[in-house]
Symmetry: C2
């Protein structure tokens, strides 16, 4: 009986927290990790683009690296592209969302859970759907500053840089818990719905109100993957003015037109109007 | 005499600050703006990738949109891909680096200038080179949190979210001015080397030490473009353990292998070792 090669995929390197959890549980296994860093970050891209990128990445791991089991160690790709990946390859594929929701169900007594994640993961409402399937009510919040703060290494709360991160976390969690209270929710679990967040776990645990447990999707996914792989082996194997009327302005974007339209005007000082999607074949 | 179509290109939408400045100066002109948002951000990518993406984007503006003059409203692309863009198209191409350095020369009496920008722009040392050509000594610092803070909209210093940004700016500028003092520099100019930073100008002006003027590359580039276009018209127109010895780990990335190797280990908890570059044709 041999251990299969396990392919682990992420848009960047945050998924290494999942790989770390897998290595801790299966130190004898073979792993192939792919970070699609050329096309990073997925969090700001459309579902269509993420699905194409993720499917190509999954095929690389299966066809060229011989992966017999895939773990999608990326919340965004799990949220938006799990179906596309499962269609693109013939091996079992596990994302991080459902294991996170299952772990939340085991941890929650009230049935109400909070989820923090990237913009794209939250907009997909994948955690809300997965939690509902577990009989849970979920409230999600996008926390886009946390990834760059982790990548900047501002994660030590005892020094000024880390105090900035602690304040960002305080602001995000205050908004989230206020929203939850306004909706009549009584949450007792906070799910970390991004593979960068485990590096902030001590700060997050210090910041959550008493009575709320922190659940890590990366650990939950690694647990689920080990369970599934062992099972297989057992079975044998704001309103803005228009641009000045005399200005002829055409705006184009290769993706994320909605984000461009929403945020672009803040930079331009005028409404950017309708942004056209162009394909550069990238 | 007709006004030429001016193509304005950025990896995202920050370059709209340059377009804004251009529109203010040439309200009658025709503009075509392209944000290569599918492949955003350029700031974390390799020179080779940025050059390919930027050249494709420039060709789109010239060949498909009829641009007769190109403004590269992206410090990263200007720093890393200006030559590639100039080779790819036959129209005049203006970046933001040289105009920023020229404006710094006009503003500086001491000849020592500070530059803040993205990681990739700083690593290129394009501002140092351009400033040296102007007889200036430049000290550059990467400030990677400023772009996501702007994109999160935390730009009002009177409320808690903006106070976070003000503290981030204070930390970055304190590091930069301490480094400058240690090098014996006496800077009197701070160049904003990223098109997102104009939105932080009031906070940056409040944070710089007395006697330091803030210079905006976006405005400087718009001035230079107008000058150049009018001229044409006039002429007629951290040490880590290895992975456990029984673990077989292969890491792949589609780009930015150095960044993956440097930062990835923090997530994995082990050295990621040698990361292999793979091309998915993206």
């Amino acid at each position: 009986m041999t251990t299969p090669t396990i392919g682990v995929f992420d848009s960047g390197f945050g998924g290494l927290t999942v790989l770390r959890a897998l290595i801790g549980r299966m130190p004898q296994a073979r792993f192939a990790f792919l970070g699609d860093t050329a096309r990073l970050p997925y969090g700001s891209k459309s579902r269509r683009t993420i699905a194409k990128y993720a499917a190509e990445s999954a095929q690389f791991l299966v066809q060229e690296q011989g992966a017999e089991f895939l773990v999608i160690a990326c919340n965004t790709a799990s949220a938006l592209a799990l179906d596309a990946i499962q269609e693109a390859v013939s091996v079992p594929v596990l994302g991080v969302i459902e294991p996170g929701a299952s772990a939340a169900r085991l941890a929650s007594r009230t049935g109400d859970v909070l989820v923090i994640a990237t913009d794209a993961t939250v907009q997909s409402h994948a955690y809300t759907v997965a939690c509902r399937a577990q009989g849970l009510r979920a409230l999600e919040k996008a926390c886009p500053l946390l990834v760059p703060l982790v990548e900047e290494g501002w994660i030590d709360a005892s020094i000024p840089t880390g105090k900035v991160t602690a304040e960002v976390i305080r602001i995000y969690l205050a908004e989230l818990t206020a929203d939850a209270a306004a909706m009549g929710l009584n949450p007792d679990v906070l799910v970390l719905g991004c593979t960068h967040y485990p590096l902030l776990r001590p700060m997050l645990e210090a910041a959550v109100p008493p009575g709320i447990r922190v659940i890590d999707s990366a650990q939950a996914a690694a647990d689920a993957a080990v369970h599934s792989i062992n099972g297989r082996l057992t079975r044998s194997s704001e309103e803005l003015p228009e641009v000045p009327p005399n200005t002829q302005l055409r705006c184009f974007a290769t993706d994320s037109v909605e984000k461009f339209e929403r945020l672009g005007s803040r930079f331009l000082g005028y409404s950017v109007g309708k942004v056209q999607l162009v394909d550069l074949g990238g």
